[in-house]
Symmetry: C2
Subunit: 343 residues, 2 copies
């Protein structure tokens, strides 16, 4: 059976059902004023013609595309994949979809933002550390709601949802102290990312209260990647054995995996006996039996729900949040990379 070349439109359905095009439109919009039997007749005709409403066309008049742009900075970090997955699920449950933008190293902010705006998205979720400022500016100027996911811009008034990273850093410091850590080290992420800065700050501040001077905490930058962290870990241990750290905080899990792997494989360091390790994020791999990483779990579901709520996708009038900064608390997940306290 050969289908007609042209796709059926609401006019075709209207003709078959013996109603006007308006009736077809109303039949497909739940809250419209239309008689039950008319709707049934229309849906029946639509089925016969294999008609599917054209959302692109409808978005012209409704001024809503039901599309949300998600800009992912680092697809190599499972945490952001997890966040993307969660965002996609939530939006799909609302009848909306994700338009995905991945950001390459050399991507220009203006370039990405121009593409986002061309697609008339209803909102933007930005998970990229880099380029945030210029992108949020253009988005807000054009009346497109944007929410920063897990990062913020100090001088700027864009809405932001994040884990309380300072608090989380403190949780890690507290756990490492309780487990008997004495010589502390950190592997930090992208230096420009507030995520990294805040976790470091929470960690250092809490240690300071326990009498550990900041200058006694060894530090190396792992650039938020597995490989970068492996290199950083080796750098931290490039010193006499008696000065080796015995407690290491990696500001995210993916770096903790890199550090653990290289330290065990290259230097034969036993974890947690010779070195205690903690991460941040609670990515799926942190629970794997090769790592059993102690970490701070981010409340991803709640963060996503909050972020999408701040976009105000429902409701007739578009309201843009300003100067919102929601910090949700994470919680410590204790696994096997710390010694039991008092053990």
């Amino acid at each position: 059976m050969m289908k007609s070349r042209r796709r059926a439109t609401s006019f075709d359905v209207a003709a078959l059902a013996g109603v006007s095009q308006s009736a077809v439109s109303r039949a497909f919009s739940p809250q419209s004023s239309i008689a039950a039997d008319t709707r049934a007749r229309v849906l029946d005709a639509a089925r016969k013609l294999d008609y599917v409403p054209n959302r692109i066309a409808s978005s012209l008049t409704t001024r809503r595309t039901n599309i949300v742009a998600v800009i992912v900075g680092d697809m190599a970090n499972p945490f952001y994949v997890q966040a993307l997955h969660c965002i996609g699920r939530s939006l799909q449950a609302q009848g909306r979809q994700v338009l995905l933008f991945t950001l390459d190293r050399d991507a220009s902010a203006d370039d990405v933002m121009r593409r986002v705006l061309q697609y008339q998205v209803d909102g933007v979720v930005l998970t990229s550390a880099r380029l945030s400022m210029r992108m949020t500016g253009r988005s807000l100027d054009r009346g497109v709601p944007i929410v920063l996911f897990n990062r913020y811009i100090p001088g700027h008034d864009a809405a932001c949802v994040r884990c309380d990273n300072v608090h989380g850093g403190g949780l890690i410091a507290s756990a490492l102290l309780a487990a008997g850590g004495r010589r502390f080290a950190m592997i930090t992420g992208d230096p420009g990312a507030t995520t990294s800065q805040d976790r470091v700050r929470g960690f250092v501040t809490h240690l300071a209260q326990a009498g550990v001077a900041p200058e006694d905490i060894a530090e190396a930058c792992g650039h938020s990647t597995y490989e970068g962290a492996a290199a950083a870990a080796l750098a931290l241990f490039d010193r006499p054995r008696r000065d080796w750290p015995d407690a290491l905080f990696c500001i995210n899990d993916i770096m903790a995996l890199g550090a653990m792997d290289v330290l065990r494989a290259r230097l034969g360091i036993a974890i947690p006996d010779a070195l205690q390790v903690a991460g941040f994020d609670d990515i799926p791999q942190a629970a794997h039996l090769s790592y059993r990483l102690t970490t701070v779990a981010q409340p991803v579901d709640a963060m996503v729900a909050e972020a999408l709520a701040l976009l105000h996708l429902d409701g007739p009038a578009r309201h843009i949040e300003r100067a919102i900064d929601r910090a949700l608390p994470g919680h410590l997940v204790v696994r096997a990379t710390l010694r039991p306290p008092g053990g």
Copy 2:
């Protein structure tokens, strides 16, 4: 400075530049017939008004959205994340975007496909094993090009790009034999997935040629997940120690990680000394020092390039490929989970 509430349209730009709306449209389309200085004047006015062409509106007349739907069945498998990332990068380089559809366990094929069709996408890339048949049917009926990524449907004529899984299974069999494997075992994936079936077939066939009877190969289903594989691995070793397998093929890497983790942690099995393990896919984690997994690398970049080419997104007339089945060869990546041959 307060921006006007309404976004600037091509008419606004036209008025400011003193030209017609058509001229504005042409100024933004590279191959249009327009004088250089007119274009410059238009672009200048556009910049002043912060005008961005509305791609949604333009797609109404061009009948192209420059959007490709990507349906991801399993976001928990890093291989598909990697594929998604690669697809996104390639499309963005062509000025197109990915509209992401994630498939939950309980998602209905009709439901997802209806949403795909509503958005008038220019093409569909389907990476989900389940539901493939009904989805491809509806897509093709409506003239939307669809390509199955790394799976195919035997009775169906949709285009398909995949790794040569039979060949890859043979590579693994060959490597395990050369490394001295004697008692073989497999952890299989989703029973309905051709990906799993083909890899198993290649593996079993190759072993048979070497004199290993299929019924001597132990088998358990890991359902393509880390956790499922861990359970399957324990089941395979739930027998007298002298009957334990010494060569294990997991039909994808994520399951190999699960199997290795549980066998080492729970049963204390040394890899590769007591057990040799191989996977398939070459996900990033396979290279991590905790695993150093021998596996078959899929040529993801080439597969994605081929898949997108089959959609025929360029060119004026939409041509739909039928009955295409491209199988690209993978290559063995030897790491530390096999003993060196002759060692």
